[in-house]
């Protein structure tokens, strides 16, 4: 099945699933309340957005300079930096580190980039045990499914479902209270942190000025992952760069506000090296893997380059009516929601993934929500334009050409209206059936009745 067929099939199922619709609505309603409160607390959220957008513009449009500064500083303090052009290379680099260290167990904190390169699957094939420590990731790992949302991987599940899951997979589920379920995960994870050979993290920001990787989290699992194991590996996309340390003073609260409706997440931690002389703990070795994976192609598209400004807050997913109704898994790819619909055609192929850009009413709620002012919904339009220009669909283009002839010529347009009026009774007869040309509409909606006199008829008769 092609990606677009798969998308349409899953979308059809999910949009009819009223229980799913309600679960997501409830989860997002509570987010909306706190998000709006947090935004209102800012003296000027809009000025903050503009500054954040300009800062990311500076970072991305001087990406080479900033990456070089970042890497020089990291390497000066003993960090081993690796460059990976694609997922295959990144996986091999990471696997090789694990082989060299004779690693047996890996504790992971959340990294969407690792989902992107399907890291867990590759490592497990080689016999390594990978444990997701973030509660949401831990839950979907037990269910053998990908994360549902880039920030809240298990938001599609109710506490009852999670209780059943823990009962089945862990034999430990005292009740369905979120507190108790969280304690179960905490207990399970404890010894894994302490005994893991390797800790694996992602990154939210990479500071060029000071050579730091910044990780944002609530649970403390990333902090433990970066504290206890002897070897630490961090994977990040090259676009995570910010120019200055002080920029975080704006980005950290904006990420928390837009992403979770919090003023700050619980832990925001900046790492500038492995354990340094005089420090009492921390990894002896730190490997930072920089990933391209076609980001440079998106960079080359100057019109859509700002899609690389994304700070992966998930705000656009949260406001998107498409996302809310089809759910994160329907997209069938790592990055869902509006940002996913924009970048996936660039990262995975325009013709195979343009349907994500097509499946939108272009309402613009995403662009309005984006803390770094990415022009998301216009990029969807641009993807459509690029896809049609490269490979126009013969009949669709013909239809628009005919449409153009009809609307440009008053005689044809009048004729078209007349035909519509005359065939209305016929339409009523075939409504909803296989013969109905308007079936896509009439399956769930009634067609509007066409009046006998059009506006132009009335206008002409007036005179």
């Amino acid at each position: 099945m092609s990606f677009v067929s798969q998308f349409k099939t899953l979308a059809s199922e999910k949009t009819r699933d009223l229980r799913h619709r309600q679960v997501i609505r409830t989860a997002l309603r509570s987010y909306e309340v706190v998000r709006d409160k947090r935004k209102a607390a800012f003296q000027s959220w809009e000025s903050a957005r503009q500054a954040a957008a300009e800062t990311k513009w500076e970072a991305i449009n001087h990406l080479d300079t900033h990456l070089e500064a970042l890497v020089a500083k990291l390497e000066a303090r003993g960090t081993k930096v690796h460059w990976a052009s694609n997922g295959v290379q990144a996986r091999e680099i990471i696997a090789q580190i694990l082989r060299d260290k004779k690693a047996r167990s890996i504790i992971k904190s959340k990294a969407m980039t690792s989902e992107e390169i399907h890291l867990n699957r590759a490592l497990e094939k080689e016999g390594f045990t990978v444990v997701e420590s973030d509660l949401g990731e831990f839950i979907v790992q037990l269910r053998h499914e990908p994360p549902y949302h880039i920030v809240f991987p298990s938001m599609h599940l109710t506490r009852g479902e999670i209780k059943d899951l823990f009962q089945k997979e862990l034999g430990d589920a005292p009740s369905d209270s979120p507190e108790e379920l969280t304690m179960v995960a905490r207990r399970v994870m404890r010894q894994k942190y302490i005994t893991a050979d390797v800790g694996f993290t992602g990154a939210n920001f990479a500071i060029a000025e000071t050579g730091m990787i910044s990780i944002t989290e609530n649970e403390g699992n990333a902090r433990l992952t970066a504290a206890l194991p002897k070897t630490m590996i961090t994977l990040l996309g090259i676009e995570k760069v910010l120019p200055r340390f002080a920029d975080l003073a704006l980005f950290l609260p904006m990420l928390a506000t837009a992403g979770a409706g919090q003023p700050m997440t619980c832990y925001n931690t900046m790492y500038s090296g492995p354990r340094q002389p005089g420090e009492c703990d921390g990894p002896e070795e730190w490997h930072v893997v920089l990933l391209d994976n076609r980001r440079t192609e998106l960079l080359a598209d100057a019109e859509q380059r700002d899609a690389l400004h994304c700070i992966r807050c998930g705000a656009c997913l949260n406001v998107c009516p498409i996302f809310r109704n089809v759910g994160g898994h329907t997209y069938g790819t790592t990055y869902s929601g509006p940002i996913g619909a924009v970048i996936t055609p660039h990262l995975r192929g325009l013709q195979e993934w343009k349907h994500l850009s097509n499946a939108s009413s272009l309402c613009g709620a995403c662009t309005e929500a984006c803390p770094v002012k990415i022009d998301l919904h216009h990029h969807l339009l641009q993807n459509r334009r690029n896809a049609s220009a490269a490979e126009p669909a013969f009949f669709e283009r013909l239809a628009y050409q005919i449409f153009g002839i009809v609307v440009n010529e008053p005689i044809f347009w009048s004729l078209a209206k007349k035909i519509g009026w005359l065939t209305q009774p016929l339409q009523k007869a075939v409504k909803g059936s296989a013969l109905d040309p308007a079936k896509a509409w009439t399956k769930t909606r009634d067609l509007p009745p066409q009046p006998r006199e059009s506006f132009k008829d009335w206008w002409r008769n007036r005179k």
Binding site: L362, A365, L381, F403, P448
Partner: protein, 237 residues
């Protein structure tokens, strides 16, 4: 002044009363109204689908016909946005680039025209019903129209206004409604439920394309809720 009224294709064929209402309102305010007969569509369907050459074939004659208009008024947020925001984009680095910018600058969505350009909110209208308002997304986000329709409805005699609890796209999205009908329908169902929750008798909007989709669902559901274009409400004397 002389107002050039651009009547979009679906308004012409399916919702003429909205267009007629706009003519009557503007004439009552003392303006001369002209409706160019030769143009029927702004070109948004091919534009939204990515067929920009075909969109230009439709849009270029529109620009030519509107070239000498004093002001252009459109009773649709989506067509208004097409001309005002997207024509300059569509014709960038093309022969009509300058004209597109000029016409865009003179183009107004109907409610915005009344309130912001003419400074009028009270049209002496009467509509003794409870209504809620659906903001078409293009009008809302591309053109920034939110307060104008509410200011106008606020002055309608006997009208009781109630806001929907949540704001969301109705799911029409032009060809989206036919290409992804299941998603379009789900979004429409959410909108209908939000409207029903207000207890209103009518859903009013400045975009009949949205109303066409919402009404289609309401009729199928057998709902008592009705839909009506803003201009028709304002024209009730």
């Amino acid at each position: 002044m002389t107002v050039t009224l651009f009547i979009p294709c679906f308004m012409d064929a399916l919702f003429p009363r909205a267009g007629i209402s706009m003519v009557e309102i503007l004439e009552r305010l003392g303006h001369r109204v002209v409706c160019p007969e030769e143009i029927a569509c702004c070109g948004q369907p091919p534009f939204n689908s990515g067929y920009w050459d075909e969109a230009r074939t439709i849009a270029a004659p529109v620009l030519e016909k509107l070239k000498d208009a004093e002001v252009v008024v459109i009773g649709s947020g989506s067509c208004g946005a097409m001309i005002k925001k997207f024509y300059p984009e569509l014709f960038k680095d093309k022969p009509h680039a300058k004209l597109a910018k000029q016409v865009a600058a003179r183009t107004w969505e109907f409610s915005d025209f009344l309130v912001s350009k003419l400074g009028v909110t009270d049209l002496g209208a009467k509509f003794r019903h409870k209504v809620t308002f659906h903001d078409g997304c293009h009008g809302l986000r591309e053109l920034g129209i939110k307060t104008a329709p509410r200011a106008l409805l606020g002055k309608v005699n006997g009208l009781k206004f109630v806001e929907m609890k949540e704001e969301s796209c109705c799911g029409f999205g032009g060809t989206f409604s036919a290409k992804f009908p299941m998603i379009s329908t789900a979004m429409g169902e959410v909108k209908c439920a939000a409207a029903a929750e207000t207890g209103a008798d009518y859903i009013v909007s400045n975009d009949s394309s949205c109303l066409m989709h919402i009404q289609g669902l309401l009729s199928r559901q057998g709902s008592k809720l009705k839909t009506i274009h803003l201009a028709e409400v304002l024209n009730q004397q």
